[in-house]
Symmetry: C2
Subunit: 393 residues, 2 copies
């Protein structure tokens, strides 16, 4: 028998206690969690089932699969209705206000759970869970740090994978292979159903200016209209850039990181825009502190871009993304968001991917992306790797 | 400007008309579709937005991203509320009963749309959409056929990728690379949020008997508790089998296919169980016809397994999967399901992955999986490739 909880007792306790503090602040009596990312954050593993988290006391772990998990309060169930029956038999106080994951769980599943507790009032717990996950514990930071180190190691070896005549897709496949051999899990978790991505994007030349359906800073037509984003299978040409923005999920906690490569000479404006991105990242490291409003960091980036008259290329050209950074951890789109109308306030333990990017029509995309840890002593870069544009040959 | 609809006029019309027939049968007046898989089935591309499908007349395509799509009834919106305003201004009859994708769309998103139509009655349209997508048009079948051919080509080259001393993960990465270079899109679409998989599974030796949280026939501990399925990084040992069950998504429509390889001699029972799987597949090809109940095909498979006294290994050993086949197309878990209590009835144009598998403790998994097209003339295999266990060296 294997233990369900794969965290140390202290770590598991710390995570639950922090969540319960947010629940009590918002008057939520108990919460039923079933999203894979939230379960992983709670107990250190993904399983099929639910975690029942009361505002006070210990969680109950309701498991459908896998078989043979052990631990305190581990209860096997066949269907969600078994949860209500167990809580009632065990006289667990349910409370009046129950939080459910409205933003990520299908309507039918939520309605089914609501039907089990006819006397309860239901509230959306997605906001609390996002807020909870936006602040990483030292153990979670350590997992992100390990992902960041592996991520940077892979990127440093990219020029050795390139040969003249390769397509963007062929180069991407070689980076994917190297990354997987280094232990990348491959899965790129995105909260919500509308954004899809395989292992990330390699974009070169004019393909960078093809708009996508997703709220990503990067474009690209993709190989097929069923996944219209990223590499489109065209040869990497002289005088273009190659932007690499691939998956850094080596530990279940991922880093986000972008670097740019070039083939032959590239126009001055691309070099300048890339330097502007580096400068924004460095300014972010100077300025980002716990307590700061996220929207001010967006404004700071925008000011630097305006000062260099690069607005029309910033975060896209034909199509612009509306943010310059985002929280990251188990999923790619966590809190806080660095955007004009963000209500986020930076906290100690936030991990934020900052990606000031530019699309220069005909040349490609430029700009770096790093994942930063926000601490009282400043922002620490978790994806240490040279930031200049690296020639491929 | 690019056309939003990437299908021929006839194909687009045929798909919408078939969906509308199901809507009228169930008394659904109109439907608001936003799931990527359903949008792709409707118009041949994924975009961010909604399709408004009335029971009679032409759909309206509400687009948020990408920019610059063109076509009849293409309407750009910023937020879902713009849909109601447009329909009202354009005097499009909304009808009383509106279908929404309850089984795949988040509770908050559904509630937001409901709030836009205060006079409507809402129903779950997920069932109709699943039924609609379970029958493929000749154009869709052609896309699956192309995936199946590529899929088989990749599998035939697997022995050339192996060298003694490799781990299961290392072999998987080489197959992934080959597959990607042949044009595999990588993304493995699964309806619903609870099942996650990267590009599929390579399972060898005793790892095959490690139970997973997912409702898959295959086990495996995986590399990390955040994705506890499949290859676990151990060396492929003498006297074990290697089961390969990897992504066949080359066209947006995927095939599912499993083949087994061996290193050195393997026990008689593994060879016999593998032959039993092949025999079940051949019996399925003989028996599967439009009009047949899916549950009878499950019973047939079970009878064959019982006749050979292999029940304890069938569809898993420590943990058993409750089905032997499933519809497949844009997503891996389509209709009909070949399971004991399936209510599915086979139709001309169904595409079904049949995967009678066995886990032999200490040896590994055996059994084949093919994707079949159901026609009036019988079941046609879309994943033609030798079925015997292939020695790796």
């Amino acid at each position: 028998m294997e233990q369900l909880i794969l965290l140390s007792r202290e770590e598991a306790h710390m995570r639950v206690v922090r969540l319960q503090a947010l629940m009590r602040r918002d008057g939520v009596d108990s919460m039923l969690v079933s999203d894979n990312a939230n379960l992983f954050a709670l107990c250190g593993r993904v399983y099929a089932g639910y975690a029942w988290v009361p505002a006070d006391g210990d969680p109950v772990w309701f498991v459908r699969r896998p078989v043979e998990l052990d631990g305190d309060n581990v209860v096997y169930i066949h269907k969600p209705e078994n949860i209500q029956a167990y809580l009632s038999d065990a006289a667990v106080p349910v409370g009046r206000k129950i939080g459910l994951e409205y933003d990520v769980t299908a309507y039918s599943s939520i309605v089914r759970v609501m039907g089990m507790f006819p006397d309860a009032v239901f509230v959306n717990a997605s906001g609390i869970l996002r807020e909870w996950r936006s602040v990483k514990t030292p153990t979670q930071v350590d997992l992100m740090r390990r992902s960041g180190m592996k991520h940077a190691e892979v990127y440093k070896r990219i020029p050795g994978l390139f040969s003249v005549g390769m397509t963007d897709h062929e180069l991407q496949v070689e980076i994917e292979r190297l990354s997987r051999l280094e232990g990348c899990l491959g899965v790129f978790r995105i909260s919500g159903p509308s954004m899809e991505l395989f292992m990330g994007n390699v974009i070169s030349g004019k393909n960078a200016d093809n708009p996508t359906p997703y709220d990503f800073a990067m474009g690209g037509a993709g190989l097929d209209p069923s996944l219209p984003v990223g590499a489109n299978g065209e040869e990497i040409l002289e005088h273009t850039t190659v932007m690499v923005d691939l998956n850094g999920n080596f530990t279940g906690y991922m880093t986000d990181m972008t670097r740019v490569f070039s083939l032959g000479e590239i126009p001055r404006i691309a070099v300048d825009a890339h330097q502007c991105s580096i400068d924004i990242c460095h300014a972010f490291m100077e300025e980002a502190r716990p307590g700061m409003e996220a929207r001010l960091l967006y404004a700071m980036a925008e000011d630097i871009v305006r000062g260099r008259a690069l607005e029309r290329y910033f975060m896209g050209h034909r199509q612009h993304a509306g943010f310059v950074g985002h929280g990251i951890g188990i999923e790619i789109n966590e809190l806080p968001v660095i955007a004009p109308r963000s209500r986020g306030i930076l906290q100690n333990g936030n991990t934020i991917a900052l990606e000031p990017k530019f699309v220069i029509p005909g040349v490609g995309a430029v700009g770096v992306e790093n994942t930063y840890l926000i601490t009282d002593n400043g922002a620490e870069c978790l994806t240490e790797c040279p930031e200049e544009i690296v020639p491929l040959v």
